[in-house]
Symmetry: C2
Subunit: 396 residues, 2 copies
Amino acid sequence: MEYRFSARMGKLSGNATREILKLIKRGGIISFAGGLPAGDMLPSAELAAVTAEILNSPRVKEVMQYDVTEGAPETRAEIAEYLGGFGVRNIGADDVQIVSGGQQGIDLACRALLDKGDYALVENPTYLAALQIVASCEAEAIGVKAAAGGLDLNDLEDKIKKYNPKLLYVVPTFSNPTGGSYSADNRKRIAELTARYGVVVVEDDPYAKLRFTGEAVPSIKSTDKAGNVIYLTSFSKIVSPGMRIGAACAAPDLLRRMTVCKQGIDVHTNSLSVAVIGEFLKRGIIARHVEKVLPIYKKKQKLIVECLDRYMPACYRHTDPEGGLFIWGRFEGAKIDTQTLLPEAIETCKAAYVQGNVFYADDSGHDCLRLNFSNPSETDIERGIKGLGSFFKKKI
Amino acid sequence: MEYRFSARMGKLSGNATREILKLIKRGGIISFAGGLPAGDMLPSAELAAVTAEILNSPRVKEVMQYDVTEGAPETRAEIAEYLGGFGVRNIGADDVQIVSGGQQGIDLACRALLDKGDYALVENPTYLAALQIVASCEAEAIGVKAAAGGLDLNDLEDKIKKYNPKLLYVVPTFSNPTGGSYSADNRKRIAELTARYGVVVVEDDPYAKLRFTGEAVPSIKSTDKAGNVIYLTSFSKIVSPGMRIGAACAAPDLLRRMTVCKQGIDVHTNSLSVAVIGEFLKRGIIARHVEKVLPIYKKKQKLIVECLDRYMPACYRHTDPEGGLFIWGRFEGAKIDTQTLLPEAIETCKAAYVQGNVFYADDSGHDCLRLNFSNPSETDIERGIKGLGSFFKKKI
């Protein structure tokens, strides 16, 4: 039968990294593609212990039944306290909506705000799923230029005036894909500028806890006076992606709309994982786990920088992130298309990256690539970058 | 700040049952409102055992990391086999998309198909979340008349001709809210009719395993020759709603679009719960659990029918379901508005039901109410219906 698919779906193809992940799952490939935490650094013993405790207590009934869409109040209260660490203060359980992974927060925010034909501003480049979500709302994503220390504020104001966007989506700390961060001043001015024009900021902040050098910078939300910033956090990068637990914090009217959206989408988030995250926070397991992980990520970041400098072509320039999971690079002035070369790279180097253009609202960045350094082992980083380096040298 | 919410959200208010559930969670209320399985009948020991086994095995790494959007192939293979029990045969893991609760299957199907201004046919009355989801796609839900043994096929064909709908949403087995079921012939003719006009059927079938009397009837999907039926199953009603695990089975092109939708929404479903459901199916835990539950549900259904006949006003007519969780009633010819009376009923009887009108595409059914009989205890059923009976008698 001929299916009559929705127009919004016509715009969407599969997510590049998800498709690559499928390929990699077949094995034998060194993956710099995913956004996975180090597999050997997941708090599995703590997960097993806390889960067993919950399932062998009277709480088992609670986690097996339906919950409210907002998620268990105990966990929301813990998250509200946890958000203080990002400068989000004076909030309680009712200011938090638990989401099925931080990405659901982006989807809920976009569905609550975006109509067909609306505009959403994003940093260029940005998290590719955000681009897909904006497209799924039949809205258009417009890229804002990056500058030293954050967004180019002149370009931001020009594009706000030109497009009258309903929202601005940013990953201001250890950005996916670049690993870059916005300065405190840049964040403050983004909050002021968007408030002045009535633009909602979706601040996606899943990496902030993963800082291994430099000074912590307060979130954009921490400077939000107008109530126009939706703050999104996630436990995927610091505890476990498979649990699919994140949280949104926003002004009551905004959060309420997101909750009503979520009611229709999945009713509520997996109750057992919500309860486990609550216990993890209460017992300081997450804080201790992050302390344990950071030196390893720092070492891997240092190693991948060394390998990139040693093995990649001379025209290759890369970022030097102070935290997070990703490092970003560009082949300057070279005729390299990382998208068309990816299948051959996987084939010949047995190593996978993500092509840069998928992170651009305007499909530029074909000469860029994103590399994840948290998941591959040190041996694989050395071997994989060496392989990719000689591969790209042959292509120039 | 003034928020500019999307038009689709303007149409949505909170889901009635979710709001009532919040009220009830404060305690002291006998709830006939939710769609909850019996709290004392959840397989909590099995859940604790199987979960511990997975988390203390090498599989723990797998369930803690990102998974493919489709969900773990092992679990999908088990579900493909399980669907044979509903007459859905000759399928494998690749024909199954795991969803975050059966309701997500409705959302994915609607997002893949419905554009603003499109029409979706539903049985009148139908599952209220389906009405919300259609509205969230800015499409319009049109009610199709029910007849003895299923949908009124003439009305169905008339409305297909009149509205050229993209999909028909039905709960053909132990319907939510009525508890009624479609005959085998009615199902076959629904499949034929919709295929002829190129209408996709979303067959939502979470209750089929909960038959305590009468003969099992094959699913609409089992008669699908054209590939126009999306079959949705759920483990919420037979294992645990809190786990949020369901599955969709459809023709490759349809399923692929739903998978791309899901990538943007929540990446994938909670991996631990997906793995647990896989083990539950493999070990026959679900089949044994259902056998254990059915006699209790049968007894509760018999009891609520007796209580309704004994205590409710003479003008009250109810269904007599052969399975599922719900019984439906109407105050015939009486000036009863179950919606306006609900707060007072909860206040005076300390018992909650769901008002009938929320299940209607056209907001009719104000003289109807839905009662859940699986979750309240036998004592509470007796006490609650007695209270509601005398309450409504006073209102006539």
